[in-house]
């Protein structure tokens, strides 16, 4: 397998009558974070969903480690994590149960690992409360714990700092920095600047249509 790189090649995507992505190209390698900026409706979420293979682009391709991701989507999915607008959590479950089932499908989890990541996001006190009793920011933190537990090189994040306090935003920046320092890569759609090292950050501005 070759080096961890993610490339987009002249991606065109239509959403109904709208030509959302018009020939978007990018390249991210290990240790880099690509932030997607642009006004609402510019196609940031659409691009992220196209990268994970949820949306089919009309033209263009996504390459992971030099190969078209469509050739083996499951293998690509096993190496990436996607966090959308809303944390993917069951309101009836506790934070711990949510992570057990969400991440347990991908890999075996140990209790110690779960505790450690929950503590990392500051959730040790409310880990056993049903998620519907948690605040929006706490739910986001549970999602971040899930992101860490997946233990994958590629992070695709949609507005990772929504609902988070300053402390939480700083946490996202630190987690990203650590992830990149370990050779991982990230693509993040953002409205507010990420509180992370500028050195590894690159920007791609998506235009309005």
């Amino acid at each position: 397998m070759s080096e961890a790189t993610l490339e987009g090649e002249k991606i065109h995507l239509w959403r109904g009558e709208r030509h959302v992505l018009r020939g978007v190209s990018f390249r991210v390698t290990g240790g880099e974070c690509l932030q997607l900026t642009g006004p609402n409706g510019a196609g940031k979420t659409s691009l992220l969903r196209t990268i994970c293979g949820l949306s089919y682009p009309e033209a263009g391709a996504i390459h992971w480690r030099g190969e078209d991701v469509r050739r083996d989507l499951p293998a690509f999915h096993a190496e990436m994590a996607y966090l959308g607008h809303e944390p993917p959590l069951k309101m009836e479950f506790t934070a711990r149960e949510n992570l057990t089932y969400w991440i347990g499908v991908r890999r075996r989890l140990t209790r110690a690992e779960l505790d450690q990541k929950l503590e990392r996001v500051g959730g040790e006190r409310w880990a056993d409360r049903p998620v519907h009793t948690l605040s929006a920011g706490q739910k986001r933190r549970v999602a971040l714990a899930g992101l860490l537990l997946m233990n994958v090189p590629l992070w695709l994040l949609d507005e990772p700092t929504t609902h988070l306090d300053v402390d939480g935003q700083r946490l996202v920046g630190t987690l990203l920095d650590e992830h990149l320092a370990g050779g991982g890569l990230a693509v993040a759609a953002v409205h507010h600047a990420l509180m992370m090292s500028e050195r590894t950050l690159r920007s791609l501005e998506l235009g309005v249509v």
Partner: protein, 245 residues
């Protein structure tokens, strides 16, 4: 090569990581456990189909006639129509909740075969609606004057028939999971496909009540269940993928 290739350099470590991935069976069991646990947290949703079944079957003696021989004659139709409709009642929630909160999307992006996960979810649905219905059907039958000797036949036919109902229903549920009010459309999609189950199920029940051999319609129900098991999960997977886009 620079320091950025740490993930590819870490590959020897990543291979045992891959091996540490749980087996397909373990994943299916985890999914089954999740859905059962979730269902018991939402008890009202769990009881609703069963309550509907009991109410419909007990209303018939009140509305039609208290005469047992006559009730016995209509019992197969009553039990089966009620079972069919109450099994549809719970279908709406099979994938929709998971689709709305984004958990289904995460399962689709987990790198695991989605088909296996959907089969596990459908199995959970059968355990929560089909199995209770099968256990309740003989009791409802007793209220309609069905002789005790016919109970195993009713239990077997409803048990087998609901397997097919759950599986075909899963395809309909997957197709309509993106809609806010999918109930009517879901019934419209599913009911025509499950008519054979109704016909052979009611026939098996009828023969069982008469005390005759009901193995022929029961075998046909089993054949339908096998057919649905092989084809429905694939159709449901394709439908989920379409809806996630």
């Amino acid at each position: 090569m620079s320091e950025v290739s740490a993930w590819s350099a870490a590959l020897p470590a990543a291979v045992p990581e891959r091996r540490a991935a749980p087996s397909a069976l373990a994943v299916a069991r985890l999914m089954l456990e999740r859905d059962l646990r979730l269902a018991f947290r939402k008890a009202s949703q769990l009881i609703q189909p069963l309550a509907f079944f009991v109410i419909v079957t007990t209303l018939f003696p009140l509305a039609v006639t208290p005469s047992l021989p006559e009730l016995r004659r209509i019992a197969p139709g009553v039990v089966w129509a009620a079972a069919l409709l109450s099994s549809l009642l719970a279908l709406e929630f099979l994938f929709r909740d998971d689709a709305q909160d984004g958990t289904l999307e995460q399962f689709a992006l987990s790198g695991r075969a989605l088909t296996g996960l959907l089969v596990a979810k459908t199995a959970a649905h059968w355990l929560l609606t089909g199995l209770p219905l099968a256990l309740m059907a003989p009791i409802a039958g007793a209220a309609l004057g069905v002789p005790q000797a016919a109970m195993p036949g009713i239990l077997a036919s409803v048990g087998l028939g609901t397997v097919t109902l759950s599986l075909i229903g899963a395809v309909g549920a997957a197709l309509t999971m993106g809609l806010r009010r999918s109930g009517a459309l879901l019934s419209l999609l599913t009911l025509p496909l499950v008519i054979p189950v109704l016909i052979f199920g009611a026939r098996a029940t009828q023969l069982a009540i008469k005390g005759e051999s009901y193995s022929a319609p029961l075998l046909l129900l089993a054949a339908l269940a096998v057919l649905a098991t092989t084809l429905a999960p694939l159709a449901a997977t394709a439908a989920v993928h379409i809806n996630l886009e």
